[in-house]
Amino acid sequence: MIEVKNLTKQFGSKTAVDDLSFSVEQGEVLGFLGPNGAGKSTTMRVITGFIPATSGEVEICGIPIARQPEDAKRKIGYLPESAPLYEDMTVVGFLRFCASIRGFSGAARNEAVDRVIETCFLQTVVQQSIDTLSKGYRHRTCLAQSLLHDPEVLVLDEPTDGLDPNQKHEVRKLIRELGKKKTIIFSTHILEEVEASCTRAMIIDQGRIVAEGTPESLRNEGSGSITELFRKLTTSDVAA
């Protein structure tokens, strides 16, 4: 469902993603791990069509995103790292706008909006202006827009960033549930999330894959701990 072939992305002389190749099938939840600056967000931005690749190909459900961007984007729900929202809209206004862009109108639009409000527990803030929301609700609102069109592919960039433990638990549970039928890729710094939600995980560093496998195989590789494997394989930008 997501096919990445020899993906390279350069910004000037800096190589952010270096010849990355992987695929994610339906029913798989791939955890994307890596230190800051490893290329996780850049990879996700190329997969979702926000930035073009320097070289290589990305296909979403067999559709090349570079050549048929609108068709491929219809298949994707994306939660960017910063959970961007239109500050001057209400939660329901924002979701209705996103639903319109996704091709919904009339009763179908209201139905889709009601569905994601329920899925993401936004009932109490529906009429609230987005600029007054807490971080947790902002994240959930942005997650809600990614689910409106019931996409086959979900790309979530740090979906539990800044959430409290209860909210983290709910989001991880949601990812597990959605992952049964969809193709999900999400990035995280929280290694326990890999065990909680992923069927597969990948550690990337300096734009390259340094480890890949199921949570169990990665744990074994790290002598019983994914954290140990992470620390062994990735470059620290902090002096020891």
């Binding site: 930035i51 910063s82 239109y86």
Partner: protein, 271 residues
């Protein structure tokens, strides 16, 4: 100018190579823009200042006061000021359009939805244009005033408003093109306003007379070239009641060119 016009329209057509525009996308985007504009207190302040400026200049400019002139015509007392006021107002309307998307980070959201860049650009343009239309609508109090006090010829007034809409639309398109290049609203306004003023000045009668009366062929030619890119000759004719096809073509071309530039800059900026 017609060569540039044809070129501009061809470029915009090239931007549509990916297929017809989805009107529903454009409608969703400009509805959002208009709603966003009217939820901001700044918008009401801007519109208020615009209306005060238009009315003050019409009724109070020394030597050109509308009532004292005892003429029920708006060309020299009302429409005369529009291009100059719009050169400031239109960039102020349009400065937020793309800068806000970058500031809020929502450019990442909208760019990963099935919306083509040209649909986003058209939606943004129409959003500001509709606000401009509303602003000009509220100036019809002047039209009502002369209709009550006298017996004006309504044809030139209607074509004058059409001219103002086209001039304002052109300036909005210029400001949107500038806003695609810079993320700062201040820089957008600081660059757009001089460009819009220049588009007025180079076709303004005293400037044109300077070039025409110079007696030097190069300067006369330069004067004609500048008149062909200025909004003034077109606007003056519109305010007299003359709607010429070549001027309609001029406005559409400049708007098309600016929207194409915006589309290209946005697409290449992320590469």
């Amino acid at each position: 100018m017609s060569v540039i016009g044809i070129f501009a329209i061809l470029l915009l057509t090239a931007a549509l190579v990916g297929g017809p525009l989805l009107i529903s996308n454009i409608r969703a985007i400009f509805s959002r823009e208009v709603n966003s504009f009217f939820t901001s207190p700044l918008a009401y302040v801007l519109m208020f200042i615009f209306l005060v400026a238009v009315n003050a200049l019409t009724f109070l400019w020394p030597g050109r006061e509308l009532i004292e002139s005892e003429q029920a015509a708006l060309k020299d007392f009302f429409f005369y000021y529009h291009p100059w006021i719009l050169a400031f107002y239109a960039p102020l309307l349009a400065m937020r359009t793309l800068a806000d998307e970058h500031r809020q980070g929502t450019i990442e959201l909208i760019s990963t939805m099935p919306v083509r860049t040209i649909e986003l650009v058209c939606g943004k343009f129409l959003g500001s244009f509709i606000v401009l239309f509303a602003s000009l609508f509220f100036t019809t109090s002047v039209w009502i005033t002369v209709s009550v006090l006298g017996d004006p010829d309504h044809g030139p007034i209607i074509s004058g408003y059409l001219g103002s809409l086209f001039v304002g639309g052109t300036f909005i398109a210029v400001a949107i093109a500038v806003s695609a290049v810079t993320r700062s609203q201040v820089i957008c306004v600081a660059v757009s306003i001089p460009i819009c003023l220049l588009l007025c000045i180079v076709g303004f009668d005293p400037v044109q007379d300077f070039f025409a009366d110079s007696g030097v062929r190069v300067l006369s030619f330069t004067g004609e070239l500048l008149a062909s890119i200025s909004v003034m000759p077109a606007f003056v004719d519109f305010s007299k009641g003359l709607i010429e096809l070549r001027y309609l073509f001029y406005f559409v071309s400049v708007i098309a060119l600016c929207l194409f530039i915006t589309n290209t800059v946005l697409q290449n900026k992320r590469a």
